[in-house]
């Protein structure tokens, strides 16, 4: 291919550490949200295998780790399968749980405030709530995965409206995941249809882009979306193991493969384990591997994204790509 690739973003940093029992680091992280002062809230989804791994951690871009809150369970304030995270204008933290069909609300320090939501397919009921985002008036939009629709609520969980239905056509979804709101529009990651759809906040389709495939402009089970101040669209192309940048009209600009390095938390670890540090001298994190299957390739190359699943952009244009498989996020800046 001879596509002219516009270099929009370049690697700046890597933040993370495999911490499957809690503590400084993440375990199978899957979503990130940014507070207005730059604090980062990262969900560690973790799994059945690691009962202490599930929680929400707080850190910042300077590798400062502030602590964590919530944990695995079904008690109020606990989570089983946290999927999406967003902060409202008062910096309260909202987390969806696709297993318990709850939206749980915490204050900005992680203290439990309330939860709402019940399983079902009637309006206001949820079935596998996934991505979520607030509009300028603090209304909350949730992608209601198995009901194939977007539901709009007040911050207190009062149902306002819904749009979308199952299918492959305009205004239809197949298991929607991440969402983002920008300038009176909502972008929905239509996961199983391999596309990003843009709607007005009332649910009128505006445009849609993406097709199934492994080429640069194509998508393979995308999971999350973010929009920057210039309207550029960033997509976590989960199945293709890439993060992609598109212009406001959905034209492809750049594909990122991941360029992670060992930084602060990882370096502390290696300093305590001299034998590993030593063995790493001959290690090539970008070694040529004998496969082109993206998931398998990512499994074998430490520096590449492995399961880039959550994506967010901050007010200064910094891009954060959360990788479930590598317990970290990579930070990109404007090139």
């Amino acid at each position: 291919m001879t596509t002219e690739v516009t270099s929009v973003m370049k690697i700046a940093d890597t933040i993370g550490f495999c911490a499957d029992i809690g503590g400084r680091g993440f375990h199978l992280p899957n979503a990130i949200a940014i507070r207005d002062d730059g604090h980062l809230y990262v969900i560690s989804r973790s799994s059945q295998m690691h009962p202490k791994g599930t929680r929400i951690g707080i850190c910042d871009v300077d590798h400062e780790f502030y602590g964590e809150f919530s944990g695995r369970g079904t008690e109020p304030g606990q989570i089983i399968a946290p999927t999406g995270i967003a902060l409202d204008s008062q910096n309260r933290v909202f987390v969806t749980d696709e297993q318990t069909n709850r939206v749980t609300v915490f204050d900005t320090d992680g203290n439990y405030l309330s939860h709402w939501g019940e399983q079902g397919s009637e309006p206001s009921q949820l079935s596998g709530p996934a991505g979520l985002a607030f509009d300028a008036d603090d209304n909350l939009y949730i992608s209601d995965q198995w009901n194939n629709r977007i539901q709009k609520f007040t911050p207190d969980g009062e149902f306002i409206s819904t749009f979308g239905e199952p299918g492959t056509g305009s205004g239809q979804f197949d298991a929607p995941w991440g969402v983002a709101i920008d300038n009176g529009h909502i972008f929905v990651v239509d996961w199983h249809n391999d596309r990003i759809s843009k709607f007005t906040l009332d649910g009128d389709p505006v445009m849609s882009f993406g097709e199934s495939g492994t080429e640069d402009h194509q998508l393979n089970r995308p999971s999350d979306v973010a929009i920057d101040a210039e309207g550029r669209i960033y997509v976590a192309d989960w199945g293709n193991q890439r993060a992609k940048v598109f212009d406001a009209n959905g034209n492809f600009l750049q594909s990122l493969r991941g360029e992670a390095s060992v930084t602060k938390w990882g370096a502390d670890y290696l300093a305590a384990n001299a034998d590993e540090l030593n063995a790493r001298q001959t290690f090539d994190p970008f070694v040529e591997v004998g496969t082109r299957t993206p998931w398998e390739e990512s499994a074998r190359v430490e520096g590449y994204f492995w399961n880039p699943i959550g994506i967010e952009v901050d007010t200064s244009g910094r891009l954060y790509v959360v990788e479930a498989g590598r317990h970290r996020f990579q930070v990109y800046e404007r090139a």
Binding site: A19, I21, G23, D268, N273, A274
Partner: protein, 378 residues
């Protein structure tokens, strides 16, 4: 030999690798302070044993037990050529064989020595699901109990009457049949043994009464089950249970403290229960972990190391320190880990020979130095 009562061994496995340095803390040693810039337990927080060593802040209750004089702390326990894999290292402890893959557990072999014909299906009882390798040995029956209150066969049959009928039918279905194959005969015998074991065990909670409240966590429940079975005089000689979560690569200070609080409180209740029932002198408790952890911290925890600490508790135990705390001098470390100075197979030999009265050499594969923690030897 005139033994009043058969002696009983309770093994508590600390899974994940209990950090020795933050468990028995050499708080006065500057090399400890230097090695642990991020997760050091400060002098003010340590529960002092003496001028050199102190216990993890979660071990307050454990200290009370220690002060009663029947807790042996065995320092620097390990084996030659340390292995940092949880699985393999645990396997080595379970099979008492650091040199090759063994498939017989050390306690499995002990059970065979105690009950060669496998007459008692509850000679050994494991609290947990599945069977730890330590207890596994071909043909040796062990009851593995998830929860004593609902242990048994056909637990999924609803309704008390229906289950009763089903169990009755089960025992008939598994009864010997004329002219059936060897496999069928073996299945039949094993099924009936399992049923018998379950029938025996389910009596234990019914006969149990006590004023002691156990903590309502997994280790508390397990030790309560041990007490219930022990008090019922079912001939159980070996109990096994696991207390997990010690793999503290991150968040170590908080996690290890809670784990030791849980264990200490469970042990306290267990000891009190034994005392209340005047059944403490037949019991010895062995506590071990598959390895200790690295000397240097990694920022918020520690990684897999080698030399560790073990404990033996019981009325017959002469409390105090055994073996020596390994040197923290960098030149004495093995690849950044505390060097072991006491082979765990010696500790097993103590348990087998001097407590259970079983010849240890064939089980541990040779003769090893013992620590001799039992004041009254067998």
């Amino acid at each position: 030999m005139s033994q009043k009562k058969d002696r009983v061994l309770v093994v508590v496995q600390l899974s994940g690798g209990n950090d020795y340095l933050n468990c028995i803390v050499p708080y006065a040693d500057p090399r400890y302070q230097d090695a642990r810039p991020n997760i050091r337990i400060e002098q003010d927080d340590v529960i002092p044993l003496d001028d050199n060593f102190g216990l993890n802040p979660g071990m307050g209750v454990f200290k009370d037990i220690y002060d009663e004089g029947n807790v042996a702390i065995i320092h620097g326990v390990g084996y030659p050529v340390p292995v940092r894999s949880h699985f393999r290292s645990m396997d080595i402890w379970h099979t008492a064989n650091p040199n090759e893959l063994g498939n017989e557990g050390w306690l499995g072999q002990a059970i065979r020595a105690i009950d060669p014909a496998g007459d008692n299906p509850v000679t050994a009882v494991n609290f947990g699901h599945g069977l730890p390798r330590a207890l596994a040995s071909p043909g040796v029956p062990v009851a593995s109990v998830g929860n004593l209150d609902d242990y048994g066969l056909l637990t999924g049959v609803n309704g008390e009457r229906q289950r009763e009928q089903a169990l009755n039918a089960f025992s008939r279905i598994y009864s010997p049949r004329v002219g059936s194959s060897l496999v069928m005969d073996y299945l039949g015998k094993t099924g009936l043994d399992a049923l018998r074991g379950a029938d025996i065990l389910k009596e234990a909670p019914k006969r149990y009464s006590s004023t002691i409240e156990y903590p309502s966590n997994a280790i508390g429940t397990a030790l309560k089950g041990v007490a219930q079975i022990h008090f019922a005089d079912l001939g159980t000689r070996i109990f096994y249970t696991v207390h997990g979560g010690f793999d503290t690569h991150t968040n170590e200070v908080a996690l290890q403290k809670v784990l030791w609080q849980e264990l200490s409180e469970a042990l306290r209740a267990f000891k009190d229960d034994l005392n209340e029932h005047r059944k403490s002198e037949e019991i010895a408790i062995l506590i071990f972990s598959e390895f200790g952890r690295r000397v240097k911290d990694n920022g918020s925890g520690t990684d897999h190391g080698s030399g560790g600490v073990a404990f033996v508790l019981g009325d017959a135990v002469q409390g105090g320190h055994y073996s020596e705390y390994p040197s923290l001098d960098p030149s004495d470390l093995t690849e950044g880990d505390l060097a072991y100075n006491f082979d765990f197979r010696g500790l097993y030999t103590d348990m087998l020979e001097d407590w259970l009265g079983i010849e240890a050499t064939p089980i541990v594969g040779g003769g090893f130095e013992k620590i001799q923690p039992f004041a009254v030897s067998a």
